[in-house]
Symmetry: C3
Subunit: 268 residues, 3 copies
Amino acid sequence: MNDELVNKVMAEVAKTLGVNTASSSTVAATHVTPNTGCNLTEYVGTAIGHTIGLVIANVDRQMREKFGLDEKYRSIGIVGDRTGAGPQIFAADEAVKATNTEILKIETPRDTEGGAGHGCLIVFGAEDVSDARRAVEVTLAETETHFGDVYGNSAGHLEFQYTARASYACNKAWGAPVGKAFGLTVGGPAAIGVLLGDTAVKAATVDVIDVSSPANGTSFSNEVITTFTGDSGAVKQAIIAAREVGMQVLRSMEPSEELKSTTTPYII
Amino acid sequence: MNDELVNKVMAEVAKTLGVNTASSSTVAATHVTPNTGCNLTEYVGTAIGHTIGLVIANVDRQMREKFGLDEKYRSIGIVGDRTGAGPQIFAADEAVKATNTEILKIETPRDTEGGAGHGCLIVFGAEDVSDARRAVEVTLAETETHFGDVYGNSAGHLEFQYTARASYACNKAWGAPVGKAFGLTVGGPAAIGVLLGDTAVKAATVDVIDVSSPANGTSFSNEVITTFTGDSGAVKQAIIAAREVGMQVLRSMEPSEELKSTTTPYII
Amino acid sequence: MNDELVNKVMAEVAKTLGVNTASSSTVAATHVTPNTGCNLTEYVGTAIGHTIGLVIANVDRQMREKFGLDEKYRSIGIVGDRTGAGPQIFAADEAVKATNTEILKIETPRDTEGGAGHGCLIVFGAEDVSDARRAVEVTLAETETHFGDVYGNSAGHLEFQYTARASYACNKAWGAPVGKAFGLTVGGPAAIGVLLGDTAVKAATVDVIDVSSPANGTSFSNEVITTFTGDSGAVKQAIIAAREVGMQVLRSMEPSEELKSTTTPYII
C-alpha cells in the first residue's frame, strides 16, 4: 500500500523528467494504439511521451493560410507530444523515407512536463490523406525505438540519437545533410550537454554541425544539443563515447536513483 | 488515510496540468478572497489558478520608466498568475468595460506549474487608485467563470473562451476587434490545437484572426491557439464544435482519467 | 509512515518551486560534494538546486567555435543547474574575484523544475585548468549562501541578492557596475515582482538599473526582476524593505504553507 503510493509519487517524478512510465507506457506498450476510445476519423493513435497522432483530410483554407501551411497539400498529418523532440523527429525522419509526404513544420515548445527539455509539433503534408495517415502511423511506431537512448533522473536527462542516413525531418529540424550519417547528444542541465559535445567530438573524426544552448537555438530549454555528421562508424563511436561520460555525470547528481533507458537502447 | 495521500498526489498532478484544486480552490471558492492574512494596502485578493491581485496607488517614477508604463497614470492595478492566460485576460476584459481604466500591459510567461501553457501578467492603469482596485477586483471575481471551459488531464489541456463583445484586454492580447464577438480555442499538446482550429472554422462562418503555435506567437508554449471573430452565434457554434472534438481527443491520451471543467462551463 | 509519504510529496512540491530539499540538500549539505560516485577528471562537484560543476582542460576546437567561446582560453569551467540563476551567478561573481578567470557565458533557461523561474549555465574561461577548476569550486561553495534569501511555496517564489562590490558575473548577467554595490529583487508570479521593485525603490535612494518581465529580459519566466545600484547601505535597505512586503504577499497566496529561507538568510 505504501509502495503503491511511492510508485505514484515516483511516476509523477519520472514524468516530470520526461520519462513516461505507468499510464503512458501502458498506452504506448504496443507501439501505436489503435482507435481506443476515440472514434474521430482524424484520430490516428498515441505513443510514449504523451505523443498523439492526428490527420486532417482536407485542411480549411483559412487555417492553412494563418498557420502558414503550403497550399499544395490538402491533407496533413500531425504528431505532437509533451515529452521529447529528438525521438519523435527521428521517428518522423523514418516516416518521410517510407511515405509520399513532406515535412511542413517542426516546432519545439519548452515542455517535458516540468523537465529540462522540449516537446514537439510535427506537421506532414500530403496530397492524399492515406499518405498523411501512414506517415503519422510510422512516426508513432518508431517513437518508442527512439526513446531508447533517452535516460533521465530527477536532476536531468541525456539523449542520444543516430541515423545512418538522415532524411528531411532531421534536415528541417537540425540542418542534417540528407542521405548522410547524422547524430546528436543532448544533456540537461545544459552544463552536462557541453561536456557531451566535447567528449563526442574528441572520440572520433566527426564534423560538428551546430551547438545549441538555452539562449541560442533552443526554446530557452535547459539543454546543450550538439549535432554531428561524418562517416557512419565515426558518428556512432562519438555518440557512444559521450553516452558513457554523460551517464556517469548525471548519475552523480542523484546517486540514489537508478539511471536507465526509457525503453531499450538502440545505438549499439 | 491512503485516500488522503492519493488526493495530495492527485492535487499535485492536477496542479501540474494547470487545473487547480485543493488549496487554491478553497482559497478561490468565494471568488475574491478578501484581505485574509495580508494587511498591506497594496493587497487586493487571490483567485483560482494561483492568481493574485495587487494595487499601487502611486507608482515610483523609476519603476514606471524602466518597466515601460504610460506616464499618464499614477495608479496601477496588477493581476498575475501561475496558471492561465485566457481566463484572466477575458476576466480583465470585463473589468475594463466596468471601470475607468486602461490596459497597460499583458504578458504571458511560459508557466502553468509544469503544464503545457502560460501564466499571465496584466497591468491596468488608472488616474485614481479606487479605479485600479476596482478593475483588479472585477478581474479576480470573473476569473472563476472563465476557467469554466478549461479542461485538463495529465496529457494536456483544452481551453475555450467566448465574449459577445470584446473590449480592450482581448484587443491588446489577441487583436480582437473591439465591440465584436470574439472567441478562441486552445489545445495542448499543440497537435490537438491544430485540429481544434480546423474544426471550429469548418463548423460555422467565422473569420480566423490568427493561429499561434509553439514557435510563433506563444512563449514557446505547447499549444496552438486559434482566434475567431464574426457573428456572435457563429463564433459560439464554432467553439462548441471544437470543444466536442477536443474532449474526445484529449481523453484518448489518458483514457483512465476523467476530463472535466475546472469550474463550471459557461459557453452554452 | 504516512508522514514519510507526505514528506516525499512535499519534497516534490518543494522541488517544483525551486526549493530543493531531501535528496539534493543531503548531496549539497557540506557545500561542494567531492568526487562521490564520479571519477571523471572533468567532474568537480554538485550543490543545492541541482547544480553541477565541471571542467574541461582543453576544449575541442570545433566545440569552441560552434559554442562561441573565446579562442584565448583553452580551459573552461562549467556550472549549470536546474533551479536558480541568481544564487549561482552571485556565487560565480565571488569566484571571478577570487580566481584568474573570465566569465565567457551566462545563459538562463526557463526551468526550476516546474516552478516560475530560471535555471542557469555559466562558463568560465581560464588559461590554466587549475584556475577553471578553482572558479567552479568557489561557485559551488558559495551557491548555498546565495540560496539564503530565496523563499518559495507552491504559489511562487521570492529572491533577493546583494553584494557590496559587484564583479564580472553580475556585470555580464545584469549590467551591474563593477566595483559598486548591487542588488536585486525577484518575485514570481510576476505580479509580485512589480510590487517588490516599487517597494525597494521607495524605501531608499537607489538607482534602478533595469526591470525585466516575462516578455522582456527573461526567458518567458513568470518573474519580474528589478536590479539596483547605489550606496551599499541604501541598496541593502531597499532590498530588506522589499523582502518584508514580498513575504506577506506570497504567504497570502498559500496561507497554510510555511514560507521560509531555502538555506539561511544572508542579507541582514
